[in-house]
Each structure stands twice: as structure tokens, then as C-alpha cells.
């Protein structure tokens, strides 16, 4: 009886709390269908849904539709995910399994870079990319992902690799495999689930990495969805309904991936990230 009551209380609390957390999102969905005059009303659903908000928002720029901006962003994402997944595993195997001089030192440096504020490196990086003629291209956004995909992911994979039994490596060694062979045939296949986590996070974080996008992309032709939204916001007379409609669409890819890979998400960080 007592435990039933406590369960009910839990459910009640969790339901109410989830609702409060999601309420802005629900309101957002409704608001994306509203007329400007109706927007300031706290009702969720509009009297007459303006489905044309989506159509007009999609075509808000006279030059390009949002299809163009989505295409740009996905192209950039393709590079980022590819770079991160391809290199993070390689680096993580080095740190997680091989003994070499100064390994401890380099690993500490790797951990330290996670704490380094990006502001310190951003100016010289910009100068460098500017000198190389890469400003206003995707190179400065994509290239950094090809250097191990970021300290956090390397760390995540190192933790994962440490959890793989060494017997497997030893068996392969007896069969005459080199360290490269062990990596390719033993470790890499086992890393698949962790690499999915890397891909998901890379995708979602790069989608939201507004700072780098605003810094390096200047011509509308190359704009990402985020930059297109900013252009929308900076218009003189904002059509809020349309803007909210496009904003809602812009989070769609991340949300889709989140739901497809939900298990990986919460449990991925929980188990791989914090195995101690």
C-alpha cells in the first residue's frame, strides 16, 4: 500500500514536471501556426492555423529556400561526422592500448585541452585560416574534426577500449597479428556502438555550434540553417510565426536522431563516459 502510494506520487510528480519542461516546446509548435496578432495570446492552438507560415518561412529569402540551407548544413555535417568517426577510434586505440614514451604526458594534455576556453585559440585560428584562404568556406568548420574528433570523444573511446578484455588482443597476437591488425580486426569492430555515440553527438553539437558558423561563413550562399535563422531574426519586420515555424523545423534533424538513438544517448554517456 505504502509503496503503491509512493509510486503514484512519483508518477504524478514526473508527469507534471515533464509537462512543465516541455511546455515551451508545445507552445512553440502551436505558435508556429499563429498569426502575428494571435502570437501574444497564451492559448496553445491558434483559431485558424496558418499553415502558410511554413511555406512563407521556407521561402523567406528571395534568393534561396531553406532547402538550400538544410543542404549546406547536412553537407558540413557529413564532413564533421566522417572526420570524427574515422580518426577518434585511431587515436583512442593509441592511448587506450599501446605503451609508448610520454603517453601519460600526452594524455594529460588531452584532458587539459577539454578545459581550455576556445576564446584563446580562436583569433590565431582565424588568422591562420584567413591566410590559407579558407575563410568563407567549410574547411575551418570541418577540418578540426579530422584531428581525432575532439578531446571529449577520444576520452570517451579510450574509456570504452579499456573495458575490452585484453585476452582478445593477446589471442590475436599469438595468431601473428600486428598492433595494426589488432586495431582493425579486433578493436574496431567492437567499438561500433561507441562510434555511433560519437557520430550522434558530433552531429548534434555541430548543428548547434553557432559560434564557428557565424565566424567563418559570410556569404548567404554558404549559410547553414542557424545562420539563415539569424538572418531571419535580424530582419526589420520579423514575421514571428514564420520564424518560429522555421526554427522548429531546424531542430527536427537533431530531434529525429535523438529519438532513433535514444538508448545510446542517455545510456551512452552514462556507461561509456563514467565507467570508473
Amino acid at each position: 500500500m505504502n509503496s503503491l502510494r509512493s509510486k503514484l506520487t512519483s508518477h504524478l510528480f514526473l508527469t507534471v514536471f515533464s509537462f512543465i519542461m516541455l511546455y515551451p516546446v508545445i507552445w512553440w509548435a502551436g505558435a508556429s501556426l499563429k498569426k502575428t496578432e494571435e502570437l501574444s495570446m497564451p492559448t496553445i492552438w491558434p483559431h485558424t492555423p496558418m499553415w502558410e507560415n511554413y511555406w512563407n518561412g521556407w521561402h523567406f529569402s528571395s534568393e534561396y529556400t531553406f532547402a538550400h540551407f538544410f543542404g549546406n548544413t547536412l553537407l558540413m555535417e557529413l564532413g564533421n561526422v566522417l572526420g570524427g568517426v574515422a580518426t577518434a577510434a585511431i587515436v583512442a586505440y593509441g592511448f587506450g592500448r599501446l605503451h609508448f614514451k610520454l603517453r601519460g604526458f600526452w594524455f594529460s594534455i588531452l584532458l587539459l585541452t577539454m578545459m581550455l576556453p576556445g576564446q584563446v585559440t580562436v583569433v590565431p585560428q582565424y588568422i591562420l585560416f584567413n591566410k590559407l584562404g579558407f575563410v568563407d568556406s567549410y574547411v575551418p568548420l570541418v577540418l578540426p574534426h579530422f584531428f581525432g574528433g575532439g578531446a571529449f570523444f577520444i576520452f570517451l573511446l579510450v574509456q570504452f577500449i579499456r573495458g575490452i578484455p585484453r585476452d582478445l588482443d593477446e589471442a590475436a597476437t599469438i595468431d601473428g597479428a600486428s598492433v595494426y591488425g589488432i586495431f582493425g580486426r579486433v578493436i574496431l569492430p567492437l567499438l561500433k556502438p561507441a562510434l555511433v555515440t560519437v557520430a550522434i553527438f558530433t552531429f548534434i553539437w555541430s548543428w548547434d555550434d553557432f559560434f564557428a558558423q557565424v565566424l567563418y561563413l559570410s556569404s548567404v550562399d554558404k549559410f547553414t540553417v542557424g545562420l539563415a535563422l539569424r538572418m531571419f531574426i535580424d530582419q526589420f519586420d520579423i514575421q514571428w510565426g514564420q520564424l518560429l515555424a522555421m526554427s522548429l523545423l531546424s531542430i527536427f534533424p537533431s530531434v529525429l536522431i535523438f529519438f532513433i538513438a535514444q538508448k545510446h544517448f542517455v545510456e551512452g554517456i552514462a556507461t561509456t563516459g563514467l565507467k570508473g
Partner: protein
């Protein structure tokens, strides 16, 4: 993300292994460097070299068009003695960090405790509660926030129901920073997930034996949960402070630093100095001041941690 929580125990395992196997197992010096080379090259090229260059540039005047001109400590002198925007943006940022970090920690810990139960449908609740954090940093949410907290926005309409006359939350300098802090707190998801993972690591036996000794819920929370969670708390605190100092998108989109610089966050100030006014030297000096502040706070955090962070491997007590 999970760096500090892991290094303590991780390193020890490493030591044991390498100690026992040193003779048997060959080292792979060359292969090791081959494997870490992607990261190493990236680190040297995009981190170490930029850090050094940034330090040099902070003593120069540089507009990208001409070569940097050495000006000694002029940038720093000007920043500290003759730049009210610097003082303003630094104090705004400190206020932001001071409120948003503890709020987020407290909030995410409470939520993690609520979610750490075995009830049916828990995954659904977790998803719902994590959801805002998934999208929270995006420009889309910044747009939403700007609308909701506007003078005719949703928040004021709700307040009107209760007979309260709302204000322009974003256009009022007294409340604008508060809206950004609130937005930051709403995105508590990843902090919460880390707490949740920490809670799962607490051995159930501890609670059971405490029950046998007659400890109540509050007592258990204070004597077991909090100490066992302290490494995770520490980790979230350190990264939370570092992250909050770099808040950019929300200030840049929602308030544009205004009104009257009330939300002119340090990262935004630095961005505008560098990429709007093209004062690269000045911006580099600002970056180094930020780095120094963050490093000092982190060192203080680490030093203070020995008094409250509890590691199992230390034999049961904070040093």
C-alpha cells in the same frame, strides 16, 4: 566530459598493469605515435601554436591587414585602466556564472534524484526532461526565448491571468540577464545525466546497512548520497564554471548584449573586438585575461576539492 571522475581510478589501474607487465609486453613507441598522430598534429597546429601566437599578439596591435606592431603591455594597461566596457562585461559574466552554475547544479541534482527510481515508463520521463537540453543551445531556441520573454510575449500573457502586469523582460536591464540565466538552467540535461550516472554507481549496500542502523532518508542523503556523489559534483562544477564563462549564442541572439550592456557577456565582447572592430591584439589580451581567470578558478576548485570531494580509493575520507 567525464574526465575528473575517471582519472583517479583509471590511472591506478594503468599503473598496476604497466608495473606488472613491463618486461613481458613490448612497448610500441612508433606505432603509438602513429595512432595518436591525428590528434597530435591537430593539437600542435590548432591548439598549441595558436595559444603561443595569441600570447604574442596580446602584446601587439594587429588589424589583419598589416603586420602586427609590438606595443608592449599597452593592451593590458588600456583594458585594466581605461576600458569601462571590459569592467562591465566582466561583472556581467561573473554575475551570470555566480547564479547559473549553482542553480543548474542544484536543479539537475534534484531532477536526477527524482529520475533515479524504478518506476514504469521512466525512459519516457527521462526523454521528456532531457529534451530541452537537446535543443537548448541552438539558435532556434534563442529565437523562441526572445519571443516568449518579449513585452507582448507569452510569459506576460500568463502573468496577466494572475493580474500581474508584465514588463519587457528582455528590454529591461534589470531582468535581461535573468532571462539568460533561466535559459541556461533550462538546459540542465547533460549535467543531470552525469549526476544520474553517478547515482547509479552508489552501492546499494550502503543504504541497506544505513537502514539497519536506523538512518532516515535525510540522514542517508547527507551521509551517503552527497559524499558518494562529490566527485561527480566536482566535475560538473569545474566544467560548469568553464562553460558558463564562454556563453555566447544566447547573449548574441536574444539580447545582443543589451539593453545598456546588461548582458554583454565576455565572450561576446571578445568576439566583437576581434571580428567587428578587427582589433586582434586587443582581443588576444582579453582572451588571455579570460584564460587566467578560468585557470585560477579551476586551480582554486582543485585545491578546495580535497576538503569536500570524496574518492573511494583514498580509503574513505576526504584528505
Amino acid at each position: 566530459m567525464a574526465a575528473t571522475a575517471n582519472t583517479a581510478s583509471g590511472n591506478e589501474i594503468e599503473k598496476k598493469k604497466s608495473g606488472g607487465n613491463r618486461k613481458k609486453k613490448g612497448a610500441h613507441h612508433i606505432a603509438g605515435y602513429v595512432f595518436i598522430s591525428p590528434w597530435l598534429i591537430g593539437f600542435l597546429l590548432l591548439t598549441l601554436w595558436p595559444i603561443a601566437q595569441s600570447f604574442y599578439l596580446s602584446f601587439t596591435e594587429y588589424s589583419l591587414l598589416e603586420d602586427p606592431v609590438w606595443t608592449g603591455t599597452d593592451n593590458y594597461t588600456k583594458i585594466f585602466t581605461n576600458d569601462t566596457t571590459f569592467t562591465k562585461s566582466l561583472s556581467v559574466t561573473f554575475m551570470f556564472v555566480l547564479f547559473s552554475v549553482p542553480l543548474k547544479l542544484f536543479f539537475s541534482l534534484m531532477v536526477a534524484l527524482a529520475l533515479n527510481k524504478n518506476v514504469r515508463g521512466m525512459n519516457l520521463y527521462r526523454t521528456a526532461i532531457y529534451f530541452p537540453s537537446l535543443i537548448g543551445g541552438s539558435i532556434a531556441v534563442a529565437a523562441l526565448w526572445r519571443n516568449m520573454f518579449g513585452i507582448d510575449g507569452y510569459i506576460n500573457q500568463v502573468l496577466a491571468w494572475f493580474g500581474i502586469e508584465g514588463i519587457g523582460w528582455i528590454s529591461n536591464p534589470d531582468t535581461s540577464l535573468g532571462t539568460l540565466i533561466l535559459l541556461n538552467t533550462w538546459q540542465f540535461g547533460s549535467t543531470m545525466v552525469i549526476f544520474l550516472a553517478g547515482l547509479k554507481q552508489v552501492p546499494q549496500e550502503l543504504y541497506e546497512s544505513a537502514s539497519v542502523d536506523g538512518a532516515g532518508k535525510v540522514r542517508k542523503f547527507i551521509s551517503i548520497t552527497l559524499p558518494m556523489l562529490s566527485p561527480v559534483m566536482f566535475f560538473n562544477l569545474v566544467l560548469g564554471i568553464i562553460g558558463s564563462f564562454q556563453t555566447f549564442t544566447s547573449a548574441f541572439i536574444i539580447t545582443k548584449g543589451g539593453p545598456i550592456n546588461s548582458t554583454y557577456m565576455y565572450a561576446m565582447f571578445l568576439y566583437e573586438k576581434a571580428f567587428k572592430h578587427y582589433q586582434m591584439g586587443y582581443a588576444s589580451a582579453l582572451a588571455w585575461i579570460l584564460l587566467t581567470i578560468v585557470a585560477l578558478l579551476t586551480i582554486i576548485n582543485f585545491a578546495a576539492s580535497r576538503y569536500w570531494v570524496f574518492y573511494e580509493s583514498d580509503g574513505g575520507k576526504p584528505k
